[in-house]
Amino acid sequence: MRTIELKIPSETGYEKLAMTLAEQCARIMGFSDSRVEDVKTAVSEACINAVEHGNASDVTTKVFVTMTMDDDRLAIDVADEGRSGPPPTEVRTPDLEAQFAGFETPGGMGLFVIKALVDEADFVEPELGFGSQFRMVIHLEPKETPA
């Protein structure tokens, strides 16, 4: 097991550092190009959620990203400092009909997209002792063995 940690400012744009790191981890582990793209988008959305919701865009706070590489899975934890209360308990499916009809403001898609792209995704007990911690797990596909 190998662990890599990254601490980024609570400003949108820095999620791309986490994306780059996640991409490298996923490539080292042998994920397919398609899965690498899934991982990058999931990490990006989790970091943006941590910045905008968890840390309420408070620039004095940080987002903590931990990547844990096991033989057959990559776990990515994204933790915030909890400036805006507890995390959501359910993931809403975005209602584009309502958004197109003007009944809802476009948005609220991040968690939904993450859950669709990775194998496991949920809030876990924060190891920092405060804030929120969101864990994503992506399993390495079984490699094809030569005939």
């Binding site: 999620e15 791309k16 990006s44 959305e45 584009l96 197109f100 003007g102 476009p106 898609m109 792209l117």
Partner: protein, 115 residues
Amino acid sequence: MSSAIHVQIRREPAAAVIELHGDVNSDGEAAVKGAYEQVTADGASTVLLDLSHTQYINTSGISVLITVAMTAKKAGNVILVAGASPHYKKVFDLVRFSSFVTMFDTEAEALASLG
């Protein structure tokens, strides 16, 4: 850290083309909406958003695209989207954005569809 979005506008016979360069995120809202308003003010009723020059789209950026598509629909205009990578096409399918606008692999295919 963001690669700020910039737009390039071209007028093709069948549609106005808005090329999005850089990151498509919430920071790009004013630029994308402004480009749409500019081309429709100039008389375009069909607008093609070309995503082939962008490497990064997040869900805030998708919300920007949805907002522009909503604005177009209310005005009776047509929005086409072209050039999204296979990954972002998958994400558009997930959030069902692709159910509300017509997607094409390339700008050429989109323009050809307009006859």
